[in-house]
Amino acid sequence: MSEKIVAEKKLQNLHDAANASLLVAIFVGVWQLVFVLGLFPKIALPSPIMVAQSFDKIILNMSLPIGIAVTLGRLVAGFSISIILGTFIGFAMIRFKGFGRTLNSFSAGLLAFPSIAWVPFSILFIGFNDLGIIFVVIMSSIFSVMISTYSSIRNIPSIYLDAAKNMGAKGFSLFRHVTIPAATPSLIIGLRQGWSFAWHAIIGAEILMSIVGLGHILSVGRDFLDMSEVIASMITIFVIGLVVDRFLLYQIEERVRRKWGLDHHR
């Protein structure tokens, strides 16, 4: 029976992939059609082929591979610091209730604060360099991690904590063996959200304050009126965002959900 389920799931995945390819094909087709009709000047809207040639160019001159590597490097550095500090502050908010409540009352403002608005501050405060960009990434994602840590722990059903205390769990072992696992599904959702904030922030910061990176390729394209390079870079950004979320974060979330039986609610 389980083999049948697996086979069905595979078929479903294949089906989804076929649909996704179809959507991309239709999109490229419409794009080509608009190009052929000449509705916009070539410089404003290049053809799919021209964008492909641009890809070829920026891959061969290494600006794309280097850009991806640099951007992801900054992102990983910034987002890791966000996770560590944000989680730590989230725990502190739980530990010191007054502090937690106060900080939480600012959460809406902190979460909605546009990442781009950190750029001028960062340039003046840190400088026009890698650290400045990483700073923007940190400031844009840390509040999301912090608030989601805080609310994930606060939303743990009290029955788990009661049951654990009843069985003699307290202090650090209560935290490690009950609080953390009980909050995990919600913590992962928070991380996904934080990742998306970080990703928004880094591209914005790189457009404005970098001499290398994916965002920088965008701004070079703009400076040289090279729309195909701009589009090629946008496609890269889209694909990376998609791949990281779908094939990394989403997979982790799914695994936790499956183990917890969260997909078995009917």
Binding site: I159, A163, N166, G168, T184, K259
Partner: protein, 258 residues
């Protein structure tokens, strides 16, 4: 020998900013090896009383003594079986059963031995490696009972553990629980709103008054075991409790309507 003594327990709780008196001086002595059922109208504070015994809530005044020693914090000497089971979904069945033992720092081999024993007792051996979502409600409650027993508590507290079960599963567990009680000689306090459950299980049935609650009546049930829910001879005890509860339920309904 007196195992547990609740002395003049008073407890208020907060209802929309008003302090409502829930428990108004509850006194209860439980002998070692006794099986005491507490019944009362819903919202009368019987679960609150159990939480106070468990140390999960603090009384406003009064105290609870276990083996003549005053209690204030939760502890593995009084393990609780909750209504919803409260199993940990991130742990396998066997790890759920071992949780308290792990907290007590018992080495892994010994933990396994103990948990196997109680899984056997609850007929859960086959499900040791399952996660809780794979179990039916009845099986979850068996795991919860195994988990509580594995701690070898001084006293077992049960807070409407069978309330969510279908009646066949419940009848089965009512018999099993009596057999386990006879085998383990545990002292049990069992809270329920189900009168027939209390009659089947209890050596003594303690009836709580409607809020503000205290003990209204105590009925001793000296009858052979294992008792079955459909046993005609239990009817007279059943009616005594119904009689005691009737005015309380009416009072409770009045409270709710107002």
């Amino acid at each position: 020998m007196t195992k547990l003594q609740a002395k003049n327990i008073v407890k208020h709780f907060d209802h929309n900013g008003n302090a409502v008196l829930a428990l108004d001086g509850v006194n209860l002595d439980v002998q070692e090896g006794d099986f005491v059922c507490i019944v009362g109208p819903s919202g009368c504070g019987k679960s609150t009383f159990l939480n106070i015994v468990a140390g999960l809530e603090k009384p406003d005044s009064g105290e609870v003594l276990l083996n003549d020693k005053s209690l204030s914090t939760p502890g593995p000497d009084r393990t609780m079986v909750f209504q919803e089971g409260a199993l940990f979904p991130w742990l396998k069945v066997i790890d759920n059963v071992e949780f308290g033992l792990k907290m007590a720092g018992i080495p892994k081999d010994e933990r396994r031995q103990i948990s196997q024993r109680y899984l056997d007792m609850m007929q859960l051996t086959k499900f040791a490696d399952s996660y809780t979502y794979q179990l039916s409600t009845g099986m979850k409650q068996r795991v919860a009972i195994a988990r509580a027993l594995a701690m070898d508590p001084e006293i077992l507290l049960m807070d409407e553990p069978f309330a969510a079960l279908d009646s066949q599963t419940r009848d089965l567990l009512l018999v099993e629980l009596q057999l386990i009680w006879e085998r383990t000689k545990k002292t049990i306090i069992f809270v329920t709103h189900n009168i027939s459950e209390s009659v089947v299980l209890g050596n003594r049935v303690v009836v709580f008054k409607n809020r503000p609650s205290k003990i209204k009546k105590e009925i001793v049930i000296d009858y052979r075991r294992p008792r079955l829910a459909e046993d005609e001879n239990l009817q007279k005890y059943y009616h005594q409790i119904v009689e005691a509860l009737k005015s309380e339920v009416i009072a409770q309904i009045k409270d709710e309507v107002q």
